[in-house]
């Protein structure tokens, strides 16, 4: 009854057939089919007026609107993310006033329509005609006319960033919560301060969780910027609506906007893919990928090895 006595009846070379999931493939083909039909009918439907689309796709007002959209999105997302980190850290702080203040911030800025916030910042003068520097509730030392400080662009940035900060705060908080306490304890145990623990241990790992919803926010922001029309700042969607309110070619001009949004979204998604991959390092262990031929006696680790070889040699990340 030796356990090592192994049956050695030689088998013929066996062909490996991967598993087939018929249901999934049917679903997949259905999806592709419906998509194909939609695209087909879109391109052949004359009501879309593709000629008008072509005419305005690169029109200067459209391009300048796109530029403003991108600028507003970029700046307000950067400020929003930084604010979000601060808000999240405050919310998770043990100081009850700080955490309540952070909660209140999230509540207030998520709870008021962005339009109202934009109007508020732009027309601050209606409420506070002068911005005063001075003792709270006491005498003012310096007074400036609010309207002169807050340009439409400033108001748009203020409104968008403060609003975004409230949303990002929740996203960052969810990311931080995803990190096990073992990690923070290990960081503490090597003597890291709270800040260092956040910066070196928690946030880099939380990024995996934070990035996809942040992508959502960025892509959302691209579109929210159109709200700044209420304060007379015209970005992409406003630019096209100015055109179609003149020539009534609503559908083709909305298509122009949609095409640009889709293009930017695609670029952002690709960027997101690479950022995600960067923060994925260390989390997805190399799986042997497709094994070449189990059941056969081909020299193992040739195909699979070369396929995964670029993964196994991780760059020695420079310590910043």
């Amino acid at each position: 009854m030796s356990a090592t006595a192994v049956r050695r009846n030689e088998e013929p070379e066996l062909r490996v057939v991967p598993a087939r999931y018929v249901g999934r493939w049917v679903a997949a083909f259905l999806v592709v089919g419906i998509l194909g039909m939609l695209v087909f009918s879109m391109f052949t439907n004359e009501r879309f007026h593709w000629d008008v689309v072509g005419e305005f796709l690169f029109a200067p007002p459209v391009l300048s609107g796109l530029g403003k959209t991108l600028m507003l999105t970029a700046v307000s997302m950067v400020i929003g993310i930084l604010l979000g980190i601060v808000v999240a850290v405050c919310r998770l702080s043990s100081n009850p006033i700080l955490s309540t203040a952070a909660w209140g911030y999230s509540w207030f800025f998520r709870g008021t329509p962005l339009m109202v916030q934009l109007l508020f910042w732009f027309f601050l003068a209606a409420l506070v005609p002068t911005i005063g520097l001075g003792v709270p509730f006491g005498p003012k030392l310096l007074e400036i006319d609010t309207n002169s400080v807050i340009s439409p662009f400033t108001a748009a940035l203020l409104g968008l960033s403060l609003n975004e900060g409230a949303y990002m705060g929740e996203i960052v908080r969810s990311g931080i919560r995803a990190i096990s306490t073992g990690q923070t304890e290990a960081a503490k145990a090597i003597g890291m301060s709270r800040m260092q623990t956040m910066r070196r241990v928690v946030l880099p790992q939380a990024m995996r969780v934070i990035i996809p919803p942040t992508g959502n926010e960025t892509i959302g922001m691209l579109k929210y910027t159109s709200l700044v029309i209420v304060i007379g700042y015209s970005e992409l969607l406003t630019s096209v609506s100015i055109i179609y309110s003149r020539n009534f070619q609503t559908i083709p001009l909305l298509l122009v906007a949609a095409i640009w949004y889709l293009a930017v979204t695609a670029l952002l998604s690709i960027g997101q893919y690479f950022v995600e991959r960067h923060f994925e390092r260390g989390f997805t262990p190399i799986k042997g990928k497709k094994p070449p031929k189990p059941g056969t006696s081909a020299p193992a680790g040739t195909v699979a090895a070369s396929a995964a070889a670029q993964n196994i040699e991780p760059e020695l990340e420079p310590i910043k």
Binding site: S2, K287, P294, G295, A300, A304
Partner: protein
Amino acid sequence: MIEPMLRARNVHKSFGHIEVLKGITLEVQTGQVACLLGPSGSGKSTFLRCINHLEKINDGELWVKSERIGYRRSGNSLHELKENETARQRAAVGMVFQQFNLFPHRTALENVVEGPIIVQKVPKSKAMREGMELLDRVGLADKYKHYPAQLSGGQQQRVAIARALALKPQLMLFDEPTSALDPELVGEVLDVMTSLAASGMTMVVVTHEMGFAKEVGDVVHFMADGQLVESGSPTQVLENPREARTQAFLSKVLA
């Protein structure tokens, strides 16, 4: 000839360009307790994971009873199994992980009864009763309501053992089941395992405890560097090792 419970033939496994298993060939008979010994990084965990098809092997064959793990042969083709078929194969094999991998959102008892209730569709009250019995056997009846984060290392390990046993598998794979246990508990877990072995359960146990291997093991397999160096009865392998590599390993073992 009685069909062996586990049969591995020339199993190869690589991660990227690192070959971790370099052709493992062994058999474990039904009712046997096979101990897997070997230095750190020799591929013991990886081998267990291959048996449970958590890793796809690159070459070779793995059979549990009459079933080829992960594939079905028809004619001269090997058809990769679908996920639900693999799941069925796995249900017959229990596994205790080196890192426990308890479900953090479930209490000790819930961890134990999850498999029986969800996978095997055992009636809830029966599963709960049996789960409590198992927890009792590993000395944790009073901790049944605790979440894993509220348990000490050794307590977590025992919950993991109970969880695997709850499925009453034909074949149990233990990856260092006593690493976090104190000597007293090792004895208790050992009792549980011996009674399992007596009830006919087949076990593959990765362990670093020589004493454990001697007491419970029917066979000892010594692995090093992805290869099976030596197999035999505990006394033979542990006391009179044939191979130089085994001798070197054992010579460093503390008394």
